[in-house]
Symmetry: C2
Subunit: 332 residues, 2 copies
DNA sequence: CTGAAAGCGCTTACAG
DNA sequence: CTGAAAGCGCTTACAG
């Protein structure tokens, strides 16, 4: 009811509030007997220190901030799942901030800094280059530990964890080539996500090595739009393999292809670069490169805890492994 | 850099810190000229009050807590999207707390209360009844405004926003009946989510009114498991309509049905009770009852702001409208 | 309309 | 090992 404060427990335990504070923060510095007594009172009263007061006094909030664009994208939600699990384990609270391109980034960043978070996980992959710079610089100026989660940004100093999308896409393109495919398309988002740019680079590299011209088709992230977008595709293009940056793009393309009489995988091999749960809901089941997004979240949160505790960290740039999952949309 | 404090702006503006505080919180109480001067200095220095100090002094954190189970479920992510947008509009920060059945709920709730949030949005639909009671009682005791988002709990006092799932499912079952279907199954989750229980009630009611025996098939939320689960289904059951609490269940059932030679929708009508974006990725496209989950988030956040500001609110129990979206898995 | 002062609930040197 | 005191950066009566 009326929140019990540190004074209440100090009174009940007949010690000073400094001692109570110590048993919570530096238990080794207090006599075992008084420690036990205080602990007992704390339990009896159900005392929990007011996190705000503690934050002000210690200048640590044990809260991290997550900067993202839109939480409802499935990759972001999964990433957050990984973050949340590890944050909980290390007893950090998490505050979320969504930041859009069309707002004043300087002001938005001031707002997050004013929240006094101990560290920041940066997931926003939708900012323009200059906006991104403003955001990152603000964090650096405030000297808040930060790690980029599933976002690429050209700055050696900023720790990051992601997947080697470039290599993943290079390898999968090579594999299509090895299967004898020639008219290989990359289907990517019209919007320039840094992660998708990497995929495009890997794809192009493999195509060029093979002496083939890269063919990139840019579409919307919105499934209902991109399936319309695919309607005229087959009149003007020949294609025998499709690599898509998102499973939903792969699936909607595949559906339209089948409507146009194409056989999957005989006529066209299709692969998705995510491996969401919808890959096994599509007909046929979608072959994927599995990108462990949850793990990116978990690993970046863990890395952030190290920076917040000023531990040594050997590797500031972590790339997690991906793997190929063959299902029914590719021939082998 | 070094954070600028209220003392810095007071010094630079040659006023007391009380005045600076007033221009931020009660601008009408300060002389327009000095107000302008202070505002100018604030802008020059890029000053933003320390949210933690402000929280301690004012006993308001302008932060809300969201209590959920698992963020990566798509309905939860969408709900959060709606919450986040409205929270931003009203300038509330949001902190997320995930709470699981297998932990000490009392302790977990103490942790969220210790964070001094001004209000709570309760999204966790995976707690056992007693656990739920402990959680809600803790919030009541702490006298923190709370609203239930997409969770049903038998307590008249607790405000909530959701959808009338019971009626939605009743209506859709009636519609199947009107189409002449008789062997209508409800596919639901094995786990007892309160929202799914409502759907089941509505379904049963419609079936019983028609003098038919309700047939409920419980399966996993995990797509790879439930498709296995459906394998033997057709040997033992006759079915001409399937209503599924989740689109993914509807789709995986439909896929197995087609593998067993069933024609959709001729032999079996299928409807999903969500309308996720995957409904238009399935073959055939899934007929749905559209459940506006984003809106639940937005509306519940808005409602919460009213409680936090102690405004009058007429209706504590809000049910949002759903609508029927006919696609290709039902005949009309 | 403005300032001096107390207080929000803690942590942390500093003495003892 | 323990307590008294200052301080974290604000807000808010209280005087004036």
């Amino acid at each position: 009811m009326a929140n019990t404060t540190i004074y209440d427990v100090a009174g009940a335990a007949k010690v000073s509030l400094a001692t109570v504070s110590r048993v919570m923060n530096n238990p080794e510095k207090v006599n075992p007997e008084t420690r036990e007594k205080v602990l007992r009172v704390i339990k009896e009263l159900g005392y929990r220190p007011n996190a705000i007061a503690r934050g002000l006094a210690s200048r640590k909030t044990t809260t991290i901030g997550i900067i993202m664009a839109d939480i409802s994208r499935s990759a972001v939600a999964q990433l957050l799942g990984g973050i949340q699990d590890i944050a909980k384990k290390y007893e950090y609270s998490v505050k979320i901030f969504s930041i859009r391109n069309d707002e004043d980034i300087t002001e938005a960043m001031r707002a997050v800094i004013a929240e006094q978070v101990d560290g920041i996980l940066f997931l926003n992959d939708e900012l323009e280059k200059e906006q991104m710079k403003i955001a990152i610089d603000a964090i650096k100026d405030a000297m808040i530990p930060v790690v980029l989660s599933n976002v690429f940004y050209e700055d050696e100093d900023i720790p990051s964890v992601a997947i080697d999308y470039e290599n993943a896409c290079y390898q999968i393109t090579k594999k299509m080539l090895a299967y004898g495919r020639k008219d290989i398309y990359l289907f990517t988002t019209a919007r320039n996500y840094s992660v998708n740019i990497k995929k495009e680079i890997g794809y192009k590299e493999a195509m060029e090595e093979a002496g083939l011209e890269p063919k990139v088709f840019r579409t919307s992230g919105d499934v209902s739009i991109n399936s319309l977008h695919f309607q005229g595709f087959f009149q003007n293009n020949s294609i025998d393999a499709a690599i898509a940056v998102r499973d939903s793009i792969a699936i909607s393309f595949m559906n339209v292809a089948q409507d146009n009489g194409k056989k999957i995988p005989e006529d066209i091999s299709v692969v998705g670069l995510q491996n969401t749960k919808y890959a096994i809901l599509s007909r046929p089941n979608l072959t994927c490169v599995d990108m462990p997004v949850y793990d990116i979240g978990a690993v970046s949160m863990r890395l952030l805890t190290k920076f917040m505790k000023q531990e040594e960290v050997a590797n500031h740039k972590i790339l997690l492994p991906y793997r190929f999952i063959k299902r029914k949309t590719t021939v082998s």
